[in-house]
C-alpha cells in the first residue's frame, strides 16, 4: 500500500469498535472511531477519511440512515464512500443490499450484515477504496 488510508468507524457498540479497529489497524489502515452520529460529524469537520463504516441503529433506530443522507448532501463529505454495516436487516422487510446505492433512499456505496468476519470486511474495504 503506497499511502496509508484513513477509515472512520461509526458504531455505538464499543466492543465492536475495539475489535474492528484492531483488525483494520493490523491491516495497515489508520482508524478513527466514533460512538455517535454527533461525534462523527464533529470528527469529519477536522479531517476527511477515505472511507466511512457506519452502523444503522445508534441513538435511534434510523440514525445511520439519517447520517448517511446528511453526509451525501454535504458538499464536503458527499464523495466519501460509505459502507453500511448493521444487524438491522431482520427488522425491516427490505433487502438492504439491493437498495444500497439508491441516492434517494439509501445513498451508501455498499452494505454488509453483522456479524461479519474480518476477512470479508477487509475485502469489501479494499474494493471500495479500489486498492
Amino acid at each position: 500500500m503506497s499511502q496509508q488510508r484513513n477509515i472512520l468507524l461509526v458504531d455505538d457498540d464499543a466492543d465492536f469498535l475495539t475489535a474492528t479497529k484492531i483488525v483494520l489497524e493490523k491491516s495497515g489502515y489508520r482508524v478513527k472511531t466514533c460512538l455517535s452520529a454527533k461525534e462523527c460529524i464533529a470528527t469529519l469537520k477536522i479531517a476527511k477519511p477515505d472511507l466511512i463504516i457506519l452502523d444503522v441503529m445508534m441513538e435511534t433506530d434510523h440514525t445511520g440512515f439519517d447520517l448517511c443522507r446528511e453526509l451525501k448532501r454535504d458538499i464536503d463529505t458527499k464523495d466519501i464512500p460509505i459502507l453500511m454495516l448493521t444487524a438491522v436487516d431482520q427488522k425491516y422487510p427490505l433487502n438492504f443490499t439491493s437498495v444500497a446505492g439508491d441516492e434517494s433512499w439509501l445513498p451508501v456505496d455498499a452494505f454488509i450484515d453483522k456479524p461479519v468476519e474480518a476477512k470479508v470486511l477487509l475485502e469489501r474495504i479494499k474494493k471500495l477504496l479500489k486498492d
Partner: protein, 590 residues
C-alpha cells in the same frame, strides 16, 4: 307543544357542542335542552381541550365544520387526552370520503346535517350509558334518572306473559323454577326486557326444528342476514356480543349504522355485502373496523349471497370473524423474533470479528499476545451476554406457557450460590475494571430453587455491570434472618429514570443508550423468579451525594439537596430482592 322540564328531570351529563355554524349550535342546544340535557357551546379550542383534560365533559358533539372545517383533525388529540370520551361527529358533508375519514378516527357516532334529533338522542343515551358503565361513574346520574332510564327495560310478570305469549301462571312457574331470569323485589318478580328476549330466542332456537338457526347460535363468529336495503333482518348472539348492542337496536337497522356507526353506506369497493349483491358470488374481505374507543379490529368479513328461486339475491349472509387477537399476537411475535435476532447479531458482531481475526494467519501474526488475550476476553464476555440473553428469553417464554417448575430446596445461598456467580462474572468485571464488594449477615439456609436464584443473581449483577460506570464498585448485601432472605445490589452508573422505576420489570423494557445490547428481559425474569418464591423486588435510583445513595424522593423532598439538581451528580441504581426464608431448614443442603 313545548315540554317544560322539571328540575328533577334535568339530566346531569356534561355535553359540549363545538361547531362554527352558530345556528346549528343554537338549534341543537334548544332541542337537547327540551330533553333535559344540559348543553354548553364552546368556540375556543383551548377551552375545550382544557375541559377534556380535566374530565369535565361526558359527551362531545363536534362538527366537521368547526375549526375552519378541520374539526375532525382534533379527534386524535382529544383521544390522546381522554380515550374514553364518546365523540359524536356531525357534518354537513354527506360524502363517503369524509364519512370514512372521520369514522377511522374511532368516534362514537357520525351524523349528517340536518340532524335527526331522535338519532342524536339515541346516540347520546348510548354514549352516556357506555361512558358511565365503563368509567365506573354510574352514581353520577341521579337515582331518579337511573330509575327513569331503566323504567322501559324492567318488566313485571304481566308484561313478560304478553311478550312470551304464555299465561301469567306459566310465566310465574318458569320464574319460580329459576328457568326464566328474574329478580324478586318484595313480593313481586321483575324481569329485564333484553334478558327475556335473549331467553326467548335461545329457547326458541333450542326447541325448533330449524337446524340452520341452531347452528348459527353455536357459531363463535358473528352472523347477520342483510336485505337489499342493507338492513339487518336477523343475527346470532355472537354478532350482538361483538357489537355490544342489544338485539332490539339491531334488527331492522342499517348494517353500516350498526357496525361502522355511520349514517353513510360504505363504498361498494370496500363493502363485501354490496359486492355480493351485485356479483351474486361469495366475497371475502379483510376489514379494519373501529370501535367507539378508536381501537382497531381486524376482521375477516365473508358475504354469502342467498339466491331466490328466480336467481335474484334477496339477502346476503354476512359472517364476521374478529381476528384482532390473532393478528396482534402474530405482530407481537414477529416483533419479538426480529428484535431478538437483532440483539443476537449485534452481540455476535465483536465475537465474530475478534475470533475471525485470531484465526487468520496473517492478521494473527501481527497481533501481540497481550492484545490477543484482550480480544479473547472481550469475546468471552460477549458470549456470556449472549448466553444470558437466550436463557432469559427461554425462561420468559416458558413462563408464558406455564411450563416453569420451581423445585425448592434448602440452600446455603451465601456460600453455595453467590461465590460461583461472582466467579462467572470475573472476566466481565475485570474487562470493565469493576469490582464487587460483598457483605453477608446471617448463616442460614434458604428454602428456594437454587437454579432460579442463581439466574436472579446473575441477571441483577449483569445489569449492574452493564449500566455501571467503569472502574467503580458494585456493592452487594446478603442478609438471612429466620423470616426472610434479602439481597441488595447497588451500582454507580446511568441510574434508572424516575418514571421508569415501576416499568423496569416489564418485558422488553430498556432505557438509556441503545449501545448497551440486551433484550430487556433480564429484570423481568428476576421478577418472575421472585414471584415464584412469594417474594418482593424493588428498584431504587437517585443520586450519590458524598458517596451516600439518596433516592429521588429523598432528594426532591430535601430543599438543600434539591438546590444541587443542576450539578452533574453521580447516579446509582439499587435492587432489593426479598424472599421468605422458609421453615424447612432441616433438609439436605444442596
Amino acid at each position: 307543544m313545548v315540554t317544560k322540564i322539571r328540575k328533577s328531570q334535568r339530566i346531569h351529563a356534561r355535553i359540549v357542542v363545538m361547531d362554527s355554524d352558530k345556528e346549528a349550535v343554537h338549534q341543537l342546544m334548544r332541542l337537547l335542552g327540551k330533553e333535559g340535557y344540559k348543553v354548553e357551546a364552546i368556540e375556543q379550542i383551548n377551552k375545550m381541550l382544557e375541559k377534556i383534560k380535566n374530565e369535565q365533559i361526558d359527551v362531545l358533539i363536534l362538527a366537521v365544520e368547526a375549526w375552519d372545517n378541520r374539526g375532525y383533525e382534533l379527534i386524535p388529540t382529544i383521544k390522546k387526552m381522554n380515550r374514553f370520551l364518546p365523540i359524536i361527529v356531525t357534518s354537513a358533508d354527506d360524502s363517503i370520503e369524509t364519512a370514512t375519514r372521520v369514522r377511522e378516527q374511532g368516534i362514537f357516532f357520525y351524523a349528517i346535517k340536518p340532524l335527526d334529533i331522535k338519532e342524536i338522542k339515541l346516540a347520546l343515551k348510548n354514549a352516556l350509558s357506555k361512558k358511565f358503565v365503563s368509567s365506573g361513574e354510574a352514581l353520577f346520574i341521579q337515582k331518579e334518572e337511573i330509575q327513569k332510564a331503566f323504567d322501559d327495560e324492567i318488566l313485571d310478570l304481566a308484561d313478560a306473559s304478553k311478550i312470551l305469549k304464555l299465561s301469567k301462571p306459566t310465566v310465574s312457574k318458569l320464574v319460580r323454577n329459576g328457568e326464566l331470569p328474574a329478580s324478586r323485589i318484595g313480593n313481586k318478580w321483575y324481569l329485564i326486557r333484553n334478558q327475556l328476549l335473549e331467553w326467548l330466542r335461545v329457547t326458541a332456537a333450542g326447541n325448533q326444528r330449524n337446524y340452520g338457526t341452531l347452528i348459527l347460535e353455536t357459531m363463535d363468529e358473528g352472523v347477520a342476514v342483510v336485505d337489499r336495503r342493507l338492513k339487518i333482518v336477523s343475527c346470532n348472539s355472537a354478532y350482538l356480543q361483538a357489537l355490544d348492542v342489544p338485539r332490539d337496536q339491531i334488527i331492522g337497522e342499517y348494517c353500516y349504522r350498526v357496525s361502522h356507526r355511520s349514517v353513510v353506506p360504505c363504498d361498494e369497493s370496500s363493502c363485501p355485502v354490496r359486492q355480493a349483491f351485485r356479483t351474486k358470488r361469495p366475497v371475502k374481505f379483510m376489514h379494519i373496523n373501529y370501535d367507539s374507543e378508536g381501537n382497531e379490529h381486524y376482521c375477516d368479513v365473508i358475504a354469502l349471497p342467498m339466491k331466490e328461486k328466480d336467481g335474484k339475491v334477496a339477502h346476503v349472509v354476512e359472517i364476521i370473524r374478529d381476528n384482532t387477537e390473532t393478528y396482534n399476537l402474530n405482530r407481537h411475535l414477529n416483533w419479538i423474533r426480529s428484535f431478538f435476532a437483532h440483539e443476537c447479531r449485534k452481540t455476535l458482531g465483536p465475537i465474530v470479528m475478534n475470533i475471525s481475526a485470531l484465526v487468520d494467519e496473517n492478521l494473527s501474526a501481527s497481533i501481540s499476545i497481550e492484545r490477543r488475550d484482550k480480544m479473547l476476553l472481550s469475546s468471552l464476555c460477549s458470549l456470556k451476554f449472549l448466553h444470558d440473553m437466550i436463557r432469559n428469553y427461554i425462561i420468559s417464554c416458558k413462563y408464558e406457557t406455564e411450563k416453569l417448575q420451581c423445585n425448592k430446596k434448602s440452600v446455603y445461598v451465601y456460600k453455595n450460590i453467590f461465590p460461583q456467580i461472582i466467579e462467572e462474572f470475573h472476566p466481565i468485571l475485570s474487562k470493565k475494571g469493576m469490582d464487587i464488594e460483598t457483605e453477608i449477615k446471617g448463616e442460614r439456609p434458604i428454602w428456594c430453587d437454587p437454579d432460579f436464584i442463581k439466574i436472579a443473581f446473575s441477571n441483577l449483577i449483569n445489569n449492574a455491570v452493564k449500566y455501571g460506570t467503569a472502574k467503580t464498585k458494585i456493592v452487594c448485601w446478603l442478609k438471612m434472618t429466620d423470616d426472610e432472605f434479602e439481597f441488595n445490589i447497588l451500582n454507580e452508573g446511568v441510574g434508572i429514570p424516575h418514571d421508569k422505576l415501576y416499568d423496569i420489570f416489564n418485558r422488553f423494557t430498556r432505557f438509556g443508550k441503545l449501545a448497551i445490547s440486551g433484550t430487556g428481559l433480564g429484570l423481568h425474569v428476576v421478577k418472575l423468579i421472585v414471584e415464584m418464591h412469594n417474594g418482593t423486588l424493588k428498584a431504587q435510583s437517585g443520586y450519590l451525594i458524598d458517596n451516600k445513595p439518596i433516592t429521588y424522593d429523598e432528594f426532591y423532598a430535601n430543599e438543600n439537596l434539591y438546590k444541587m439538581k443542576d450539578k452533574n451528580l453521580r447516579k446509582f441504581a439499587r435492587f432489593i430482592l426479598k424472599i421468605p426464608s422458609g421453615e424447612d431448614t432441616q433438609k439436605m443442603e444442596v
